[in-house]
């Protein structure tokens, strides 16, 4: 075999190897549902993600400060007891609403802590998509003393 052919074969198999694991397991919600990430309101983002905006406010726990001194890093803890497929974070203080969408699988213990940016005071909404097809949610309104991210 010529060296050139051999190298191109090696190159192709390397690509196949690196691509395969991601394709098998992970869900890229940004690629699958791009409208979610462009939506300007929480309602539009939830509609784009789940096809409904009917939220049942139970089964989801959300902890965030009443007043955030620094809007650039607001601690947000969230969890659900719902048998859920996904859990997502939205807020209404920035130009777009979506912050994060997490897939839940058989290994997940759905309790998360993250830090988010909010340009001004507003409301955080966590939505857990139940396997029963219903949307469970928790909301928290907080005051942001110093806007963190200029949107």
């Amino acid at each position: 075999m010529e060296r050139r052919n051999f190298l191109s074969l090696v190159g192709m198999s390397a690509v196949a190897l690196t691509v395969a694991p991601a394709a098998v397991s992970a869900t890229d919600w940004r690629a699958d549902k791009p409208d979610v990430w462009h939506a300007h309101t929480v309602e539009d983002a939830i509609q784009a993600m789940y096809g409904s905006t009917t939220l049942i406010e139970e089964g989801v726990k959300l902890t965030a400060p009443d007043v955030a001194a620094n809007g650039g890093a607001i601690p947000v803890d969230f969890a659900t007891t719902v048998d859920a497929k996904t859990i997502a974070v939205f807020q209404d203080a920035n130009p777009e609403a979506a912050v994060m969408v997490i897939d839940i699988n058989e290994f997940s213990v759905p309790q998360y802590s993250i830090k988010i940016k909010m340009g001004k005071s507003g409301t955080i909404t966590i939505v857990a998509e139940g396997k029963d097809g219903k949307l469970y949610a928790a909301k928290k309104t907080l005051e942001v003393a110093l806007g963190g991210c200029e949107g």
Partner: protein
Amino acid sequence: MGIKVKAKLKNGVVSVKSLAKHDMTTYNMMEKKTGNREDANFITHLTASVNGKVVLDASTSQFISKNPIVKFKFKGDFKKGDKVEMNWIDRKGNKDSGKGKIK
């Protein structure tokens, strides 16, 4: 660079604390800074796996804070010494990864 990963097994549940290095710039931030919204760059997908099994699968936006700290938990047939491997990719296609042993 590299993602810092700390993982601890207790009562059958592994708790992970991860720290990624990223500026996480927003569209508006970059519009002010460079005049071009498209210069915005942030982590768009963060994953963790152990022994080839996905234990975290998160799609993210520009509103996760700079140098994101993400804490999450998982359970399953995992033991101390197994490695939690994390990866992110950003809007510009850059990638980074890191590993941490379950303690």
